[in-house]
Subunit: 198 residues, 2 copies
Amino acid sequence: MKHSPLVQGLIDAFTCLPGVGPRSAQRMAYHLLERNREGGRHLAAALGQAMDGVRQCERCRNFAEGGLCPVCADSRRDQGQVCVVSSPADVIAIEQSGEYRGRYFVLLGQLSPIDGMGPRQIGLDQLEEQVQAGSINEIILATGTTIEGEATAHYILEMVAGTAVTVSRIAQGVPMGGELEFVDGATLAHAFRGRRPV
Amino acid sequence: MKHSPLVQGLIDAFTCLPGVGPRSAQRMAYHLLERNREGGRHLAAALGQAMDGVRQCERCRNFAEGGLCPVCADSRRDQGQVCVVSSPADVIAIEQSGEYRGRYFVLLGQLSPIDGMGPRQIGLDQLEEQVQAGSINEIILATGTTIEGEATAHYILEMVAGTAVTVSRIAQGVPMGGELEFVDGATLAHAFRGRRPV
């Protein structure tokens, strides 16, 4: 089937979304063109604004629009308790469990020197500054159980050695080799309650 | 979970897509923000251009960018053979079968006076002009077997009465490769009534 160029361009562009192949992309393009052009224009505007306007939180590297993310800006959250995660999607998964009242530190990656991901690339220098400044009482490691996650956890343990910071790790219910963002909220809540000093 | 406003706006905007609920929308937004901002900007541009630039073909009402759609502009297609369908998505389905070499007429709806869809709203005045002008030899009805589809087919039959235009309807029956036990009763009844000597 030969679509007109703009339609074909839209179908191709939709395949950048996760889980969207050529058939779903075609269905999405046709749906918007046939039934919801206003929704399509709105999506275009929201995409443009978010891609350019969403930056990193100055304190935790999570998504933020200027200065601090909603969690770091929330004075009701315990700003001395820091949960270290790999990605913003992990923050969502933990927030949805409703268990955790501290803040986060988002690595945006894992320690993997072979892929060019050293401590600085995943912001560990920034975390170290916060540890040195004495603003952190407790670090909770939620970096996953992959080899890279273990390496990252190990690096952070070394980093805080000799300081008053306690380090624990979420333990119960996280399946081995599982991606944190796909774990259900109840399991994550268990994992937080069952954290153990390391 | 409180997302920052631009992120939340993007998640909400994604739910205008068919089959995309809040969870998938969140996954899409985070995927683009974390891993593919360039893809997100590209999608925004493609959406904006398509929503404003895709119009109707002057001859068949299918999607087109100026003047005629790719099928109506293709001189190798039989422009005197017209398949009448409800929506542009039906055109895609028929094109993908690779069987049909005529052109289309896209109603963008079905005859349903109670919903304010009269003959003019679905372009039947335009089809009648083409019939009167003598540019159509054959009409193939593919408007579906709903009550509205039947009404539309009936209206078109009356329209061409007294002209030289032949009217046929795509066969209704058991789908190819389909297990008989999963075919609904109405379809089976149709298949029996439409049986042919072999």
